[in-house]
Amino acid sequence: MECAVDAQSLISISLMKIHNSRTQRGGIKLHKNLLVSYVLRNARQVYIKEKYAEIYRMQQYEEVRTVCNEIQELNPLDLDSEDADDEDQARAACCGDETSLCHRGAAQPAVHVRAPSTLLGCCPFEDSSKESEPCEYRSCCMEASPVSHFDPFSADNIRHCNKTTVLDLDTHVVTTVENGYLHQDCCCDALQGGQGAQSPAKKRKGEFGGCVSEAEDVSDFTAARKRAKREDCSYSNPDYTETSNISNLISIFGSGFSGLLSRQADLEQICSKQALAGLGAWTRAIVAF
């Protein structure tokens, strides 16, 4: 009974459970959903830590790349001892975490810096047939950078819509919570602004289908990264039907048990907002707890 104990799959499994619990006989089981939200929180914390590490590595890689550029400008073919040292350092930095830094390139054409040496030749997942010119410095990881994608989700977009309706089962009081959860349209706009290649989110059709890969798509905090990973669920024709179901759950999760959300790092906040942004959240999520 093997199962992937990685944060991302746990997040998607947990969301599916929360979603299914809404249609289960007997009503939402508070206890079970609370426990699932703990797993979600734990997985998210691990995921964010990995993200931090990845960003840090990427920053290091950027520095290395800059050094490489400078070296190349000087003399692409002149490998004196000084440069060799730099290259070694750079190579070490690149190869330090091959699996996370480079594996994302598995599904994408992996272009790598050729000069002054096969700097990224250390990356085992690269497609060696795609050796491109030295001037292309886009790394296999660039698209997945979470940092660069945070910018499009400016405060303006976030401010547009944020309503979550909470129904208290005891008092039967309905309150509308404004918490920065994104409107479906806004998400769409934000995504379009950010990615530039999205079609508008479709209306929610119905029950969440059994497409596990879709679930994983929407549960990822960085949609683009998932795109790189899952070619079969390509974003050339994004279907947000099922994602809107899951995004609704994110809203529910966000508005309920937010005591579980860590508020320490700005990055975490951005991550959660981004998660919601990337999922076409509903305008109003009815939470019955």
Binding site: V39, G256, L260
Partner: protein, 427 residues
């Protein structure tokens, strides 16, 4: 058939009766046959005594929620007259049932005949006094009280107080105290609902009254804590008298730490001195006088620790196992997967794994101890490997006779009753 799945098992205070509840809302009561010298093999066997429909599915129109008819718990009242009383509850409503026998019926009425038809007065020539004549035994069950509309969340426990007048019902966030005769109101004695539901971090998972002190009760939480409360201290027992909690081992931290530390059942020992709790992987005995850590910890199926992710995926990690004391509080018992159940002797520190299945237990055959070995470990003959365990066969509900070595094991929709003939008395 899913509605036949047994959802609760409970002996009454003498052990003469055994009640089971199922997912379909039915209650089946078994009665122990008196030991007979003429038929030695039917000594003390349990046969069906009565069956009735306790709860029906309901629909809450306000919240658009279906209310399951599944019986979550049954608790017997101590017997005070010829009739027996039990409480049964589903997610929302508790009912008090009267179980009584009728073995006589009146005959010889003046104004009506044997079939109950009114007689023609002109045919009545003399008066007679009706007499009670014996009849075939009939067991009648009637609902005496319905305690409804007091729980917003799902009821997980009921417990009868030793004062025999009150009982409590616990849901995820609240515990209510009832008087057995009064159905239109209850007192809320515990409320852990936060002002803002977003701040919710734990729920109540089980609750029980102390067996002797009518002012004390305990409730367990999803965080693995136990709280002992004293009703004499305050009307609302939100402040506990004692908090039993074992500090978490940071080296054992995983994605699922919170889930496996959630307490699924809590039981006072018969003496009232100890508490038995069950979480996903262990059973623990606590001393009421020591709050910092349990007295004893028993590993029920630690081999599952490396499989938690799969068990999370297939939802098994949410299974709520119950636990039980034997009459002398020397042995504890709890269920596991593959229709296995385990017993731990607190004195000898020996434990045994047994299986409840048709194949492995012919009537009156001695149960053979089972063993689970880790995958790839040294395997003896008849051992079961962890990977071959059937996780759909789970023993969640078990009960131990109050005084004798008789146990009732619910394996999905089958009830097994095992008796230790050699050691009928408790040690």
């Amino acid at each position: 058939c899913p509605s036949d799945i047994i959802s609760t098992v409970e002996f009454n205070h003498t052990g003469e009766l055994l009640a089971t509840g199922d997912k379909g809302g039915r209650v089946v009561i078994f009665q122990r046959e008196p030991e007979s010298k003429t038929e030695p093999f039917s000594q003390g066997e349990y046969n069906v005594y009565s069956t009735f429909q306790s709860h029906e599915p309901e629909f809450d129109y306000l919240k658009s929620l279906e209310i399951e008819e599944k019986i979550n718990k049954i608790r017997w009242l101590p017997q005070q007259n010829a009739a027996h009383f039990l409480l049964s509850t589903n997610d929302k409503t508790i009912k008090l049932w009267k179980v009584s026998e009728r073995d006589k019926r009146p005959e010889g009425y003046n104004l009506k005949d044997e079939e109950g038809r009114i007689k023609d007065i002109s045919t009545v020539t003399s008066l007679q006094v009706p007499v009670l004549k014996p009849m075939d035994l009939m067991v009648e069950v009637s609902p005496r009280r319905v305690f409804a509309n007091a729980h917003t969340y799902h009821v997980n426990s009921i417990s009868v107080n030793s004062d025999y007048e009150t009982y409590m019902s616990a849901d995820d966030l609240r515990i209510n105290l009832w008087h057995l005769d009064i159905t239109d109101r209850s007192f809320n004695i515990v409320d852990i609902k936060p002002a803002n539901m977003e701040d919710l971090t734990e729920v109540i998972t089980a609750a029980e009254f102390h067996p002797h002190h009518c002012n004390l009760f305990v409730y367990s939480s999803s965080k693995g804590t136990l709280r002992l409360c004293d009703m004499r201290e305050a009307a609302l027992c939100d402040k506990h008298s004692k908090l039993f909690e074992e500090p978490e081992d940071p080296s054992a931290r995983s994605f699922f730490s919170e889930i496996i530390s959630s307490v699924s059942d809590v039981k006072f020992s018969h003496s009232g001195r100890y508490l038995l709790t069950r979480d996903y992987l262990t059973a623990k005995v606590w001393d009421l006088n020591m709050e910092s850590k349990p007295l004893e910890t028993y590993q029920v199926h630690d081999y599952l620790r490396s499989k938690l992710c799969s068990l999370y995926e297939n939802d098994c990690i949410f299974d709520k196992f119950e636990c039980a004391w034997n009459g002398s509080d020397s042995v504890i018992m709890t269920g596991a997967y593959n229709n296995f159940f385990r017993m731990f002797d607190r004195n000898t520190k020996r434990d045994v794994t047994l299986e409840a299945s048709r194949e492995s237990s012919k009537p009156r055959a001695v149960l053979k101890p089972r063993r689970v070995c880790a995958a790839g470990g040294k395997r003896r003959k008849d051992d079961i490997s962890v990977d071959s365990l059937d996780f759909t066969k789970k023993i969640l509900h078990t009960a131990w006779h109050p005084t004798e070595n008789i146990i009732a094991i619910a394996a999905t929709n089958n009830l097994y009753i095992f008796q230790d003939k050699l050691n009928s008395e408790m040690h």
